[in-house]
C-alpha cells in the first residue's frame, strides 16, 4: 500500500476516510445490483453500478487507493452475495476494466463516458476469458459480440450517471475538509 504523505487528497486521515466511504458506497451498489434483473441468458452481463465508484474515485484519489477499493469491494461482495466462482469472474473483469479506465483517466481527450464504456467492454471480455478457462473451451468466444455491445451500453449508462454526479461529488469533497 502506498504510504505517501503528499496525497492530493489532503491529510492521510482524510484520504483513509475517503477510501472507507468509497468502499462502503461500492458495497451498497453491489448489493443494489443483486436486485436488478439483467438477464440475457448469458452470464456476466451486469449494469456495473460499482464502477461508478471507480470512475469517480479516479478523479480525486490516487490510483492505488481506487484499485484497493475495487479489490476490497470484489472480495467482500463475492463473499456476501456470491460464491468462489463469482470471485474469479469479478476479479478478472474488475482488474481488466480498472487497468483500462486508469490508463484512459490520464488522458484529457476522453471523458468519463469513454472511460466507462471501455471499462464495461473490458469487464465483459475478462469474464468471457475466465469462463473459457473454467469450461476449457474456446467456443465461448461466440458470446463476445453480444457481450461487447452489452458492455458498451452498460458502460455508457454508468458513464452518464458518473458525469451527472460529478459536480455534486466535487461540491461534497470541498465541504469535506
Amino acid at each position: 500500500m502506498a504510504t505517501s504523505r503528499k496525497s492530493p487528497t489532503g491529510t492521510p486521515g482524510r484520504r483513509v476516510a475517503l477510501d472507507g466511504i468509497l468502499v462502503a458506497l461500492a458495497m451498497i451498489f453491489s448489493y443494489m445490483e443483486t436486485f436488478i434483473p439483467f438477464n440475457f441468458g448469458v452470464p456476466g452481463i451486469k449494469l456495473g453500478l460499482a464502477n461508478l465508484v471507480v470512475l469517480l474515485g479516479l478523479t480525486f484519489l490516487p490510483a492505488v487507493d481506487v484499485l484497493l477499493i475495487s479489490l476490497v469491494r470484489i472480495l467482500l461482495s463475492s463473499l456476501l452475495f456470491g460464491n468462489v466462482m463469482s470471485l474469479w469472474y469479478s476479479l478478472a473483469g474488475g482488474l481488466l476494466s480498472f487497468a483500462a479506465m486508469y490508463l484512459l483517466s490520464r488522458r484529457d481527450d476522453i471523458s468519463l463516458i469513454g472511460m466507462s464504456m471501455t471499462g464495461g467492454v473490458l469487464h465483459n471480455v475478462g469474464q468471457v476469458i475466465t469462463a473459457a478457462i473454467v469450461v476449457r473451451t474456446l467456443q465461448l468466444a461466440g458470446y463476445l459480440p453480444v457481450l461487447l455491445v452489452a458492455g458498451l451500453v452498460t458502460g455508457a449508462i454508468i458513464g452518464t450517471l458518473a458525469k451527472l454526479l460529478m459536480p455534486r461529488v466535487q461540491k461534497a469533497l470541498q465541504s469535506f475538509q
Binding site: A131, Q139, L140, L144, P145
Partner: protein, 121 residues
Amino acid sequence: MKKKDFLIAAAVLLLAGILALVFRFAGGDPGGSVQVKVDGRVAGTYALVEEQRVPFDTKYGHNTLVIEGGKAHIEDADCPDHYCEQQGEISKTGETLVCLPHKLVAEVITGEASDVDVVAK
C-alpha cells in the same frame, strides 16, 4: 461526450459486428450431432436426427440434454443461474449451450454420433 468517446464506441461496435459475421459464416451449416463436454473432456456425442433425452449427473450437478426435431436444448438443470436452460435451441455447427456452474458445454458438430457412449454415469 468527446470525439474520442465516439471513436471508442464505433471501434467496439465494428469489432462486435466483424466477430458476429465471422462466427455466423464459420458455422451456420446444419450440424450432424451434439458433442457434450464436461470439464473440457468429451462426455458424449448425440445424433441430432434422434429424438432423445440424455441426463448428465456430474460432480457439479444435473443437466438434461434434450434433442427434439433436429434441435438440442437443456432442461432440468439444477445450477444456480439456469442460464443454460434459457439459451434456447441449437442446430447449426458451432452453436453452443453452456452451463458455466456445471462446466458443461454442448456444441453442434458436423460429425456423426460416436458409438462409444462414455457418458452418464
